[in-house]
Symmetry: C2
Subunit: 465 residues, 2 copies
């Protein structure tokens, strides 16, 4: 096995001096993502500046059978970018430039290391909009977003990251550069390899550049928060709004989530009435007429008893204040050492699914508090179980492991996904079979072997060969 020094020497001979680090700080920072379960232990950290340099490193790694881990913004929640087994980490931080922009095509080509928020700002400066948005947008990188097909809070209107990728440049595990789809909107010439790399978590190759679609910025985004007596009522509200308006978001959270957020951040409740569940509805109020339609739907929901109280934003600031009630949840409950799961079912099955999981936890773990929130317009629920004060962290997570098994079983029974938007990585690998059949997994392995015959691309993530 090559020593770290040998690797540094060899790689720097290929791509230039001062592009590989072996110091403890680098090994620690670049060997991990937002998960805290695995101890980082990479062999070396490389900092390529171009697709060609990435190619050089991959070819070198293939020759010497060195495992590679691509590292973007390191905000992943499934340990997809953790290097805990002597890997060589490829850090994309210095590949963060805009390569090309075309206002007619409304497309932008960026290097994989560009930070999501920078892309959003770039689009804004051009009078355009990149709509994929989520809590970690200030750190996450486009390459990582694509490798994990990032979702977020605007999926109901704008879809996942997948829906915005017009082209990809990748270096495969065979060390070859693929220039996939080159920004075309229509291109029916064989298997769309672009879509294979989206969500592949770096197991087939490394994304070095992406061409992304931009769109018209939304106008006068308006937010309602509505209090509902039950989950089936929340679903009725969703349907009622979708019949009349194009929603840009439809989120939900439980009353205990709201209580924790308002207390922790000293925020006001949106209105006096407390209800078990809340829906956050967002839409573009482009004209007075649309605003009137929204008010009509709101009133009809009140009359039907699906909504007990509600509030509508009168300004951008108020809209943001209402969003905070939803967006601060994750940070707020992080102080309660939560056990988290990112699940999805088809939208219509959400209430029954939620009830079954709630019922199971209440019956078997009566001391556990469950906090629900999520992107319910997409069927995506974030399940959070808070650690009781009288339980040690170890004992809590041990118990949660048993919860997982049952929750994933329920998810499977509902035809759902054990990872709606966070990916598989190391954390969900053992549970992949709850969502994907054995035959599917075998086919995935066949694909992996085609693109990465020597198993050097993020090995051990997503699946084992």
């Amino acid at each position: 096995m090559m020593t770290p020094e040998q690797i540094k020497h060899a790689v720097e001979a290929l791509i230039g001096a001062d592009k590989v680090r072996l110091d403890d700080e680098a090994l620690d920072i670049y060997g991990r993502d937002w998960t805290k379960i695995h101890t980082p232990r990479p062999r070396a950290i490389a900092f390529p500046r171009s697709t060609e340099e990435v190619q050089q490193i991959v070819r070198f790694a293939r020759e010497h059978k060195i495992a590679l881990v691509p590292s973007g913004g390191r905000t992943g929640l499934s340990a997809g970018a953790v290097a805990a087994n002597d890997e060589l980490v490829l850090v994309m931080d210095y590949m963060n430039k805009v390569v090309d922009f075309n206002p007619v095509d409304r497309s932008v080509t960026v290097q994989a290391g560009m930070i999501t928020e920078q892309l959003q700002h770039f689009a804004e400066q051009q009078g355009l909009y990149y709509p994929v948005d989520f809590a970690s947008a200030g750190s996450s990188q486009i390459g990582g977003n694509i490798a994990t097909n990032a979702g977020g809070i605007k999926v109901i209107k704008y879809g996942m990251t997948r829906d915005w990728v017009l082209g990809l440049k990748v270096v495969t595990g065979t060390g070859e550069i693929l220039d996939l789809n080159r920004g075309l909107i229509k291109n029916n010439t064989g298997y769309d390899l672009r879509h294979l790399f989206i969500g592949a978590e770096g197991t087939l190759g490394i994304i070095t550049e992406a061409t992304l679609r931009l769109t018209r910025p939304p106008q006068n985004l308006t937010v309602m928060v509505l209090g509902a007596p039950s989950m089936p009522d929340v679903m009725q509200v969703l349907q009622a709004f979708q019949k009349r308006l194009d929603l840009t978001a439809f989120e939900f959270f439980s009353d205990n989530a709201l209580a924790k957020v308002t207390q922790h951040h000293q925020l006001q409740r949106p209105f006096e009435t407390a209800t078990p569940y809340y829906a956050l509805v967002e839409f573009e109020a482009m004209t007075e007429e649309i605003m009137e339609i929204a008010m009509e739907v709101f009133e009809s929901c009140m009359e039907a008893g699906w909504v007990e109280d509600g509030v509508i934003s009168q300004s951008e600031t108020q809209a943001q204040t209402l969003w905070n009630l939803r967006e601060f949840i994750s940070e707020t409950i992080s102080h309660h050492t939560p056990y988290k799961n990112d699940l999805s079912v088809v939208v219509s099955k959400v209430p029954e699914f939620l009830a079954q999981v709630d019922g199971f936890v209440a019956e078997h773990y009566p001391g556990f508090e469950v906090v629900w929130f999520g992107h319910i317009g997409d069927g995506n629920l974030h399940l959070n179980i808070l650690k009781p004060d009288n339980l040690s962290k170890e004992a809590f997570f041990e118990k949660c492991h048993h919860v997982s098994d049952k929750v994933f079983q329920i998810t499977q029974d509902f035809g759902g996904s054990v990872s709606a938007e966070h990916g598989v990585g190391l954390i969900k690998k053992d549970f992949l079979h709850f969502t994907r059949s054995q035959v599917e997994i075998e086919m995935m392995k066949g694909i992996k072997k085609t693109f990465d015959p020597d198993q050097i691309m993020n090995p051990g993530k997503m699946l084992d060969l």
Copy 2:
């Protein structure tokens, strides 16, 4: 090699009597698509009724190394569903039921043989909308649409067929059933095999069922036809409208296309002024305000000299009359024995691309008339060269073969696609390398071997192993 009678006997033993035909009529009808180049010569025609029956046939075919061709509406334009080499054809006509519909999910699950127009009508009856639409919607089937990732006239707003597929049931070349994604909106659990089957033209497996997303029907669709002095002007018009409105279509056609349509169908020109190019703009005029914005943009285009004259529909009937000018082109020029190509480049490169192709044809084939039309908002151009009266069909197509080589070369130079929406099949197979690199094609072969190790699934289409 098994005789047709032996196949009929064996297959009917598996799936029941009267489900295989060997008569000349059946062999002729079900052995072809809309292309007329290859002589159909299938060995037998099977009519399965369920996914399980398809699976039985595939397993039988695999055991006996019999090539299979899936046959949908047979409206393909690249000979992807032609059976000219003793294949067993699987006709999906009897698998045309709605399996499931859910108004909350706004999704419908149908068997692969459902006709596109029937799905559109079904959606309409539910107060919803299936937006993928094109000339052959009255005959084409959903399975075929998905296998070729059908595009059409609404792509600028609604995307390709790919964007509406929430789930797929397929039988792979290994004879196994995959139930891919099961209608989920968010599901990040490994490679998205669903997207691999979309556009695979039946070379990996046979699609037997699909879950499709439906959406809100468009309201008050309004059409403008605008006359522009040049292609760069058409592009300015596109940009001007896209800055202010969400367009549902942006089509174009040349003046000779319009002249032929108005003459052949005895239609009126949209307005007096003749200009070299016309743009057809469609949008949802949901409110008065949107109509006003559209008129403002129209006036600014006139002032800038990008538009010389124009007309706007005042009713649904008028909108349809204006659409006819564009939609009747294909049928009109079919009387001139056209040589057709379905090309795409990124939108911004359309004028330069079109000028180069025009220039080449004018210089080398001065007697040839070129008719352009297409979905220019997506960069998709339909190039049609009309047969001069003094040239035999054979001599014409012989010359066109040379045109193709140069046109594909120009397409490659522009980073475009030699098949924007019609697929590869038999007709574009030899030209695939103009759009896909050798490495990409090798990777595609690797994928093909994984799903179809015995090469029984539509062999010879798209690529040769």
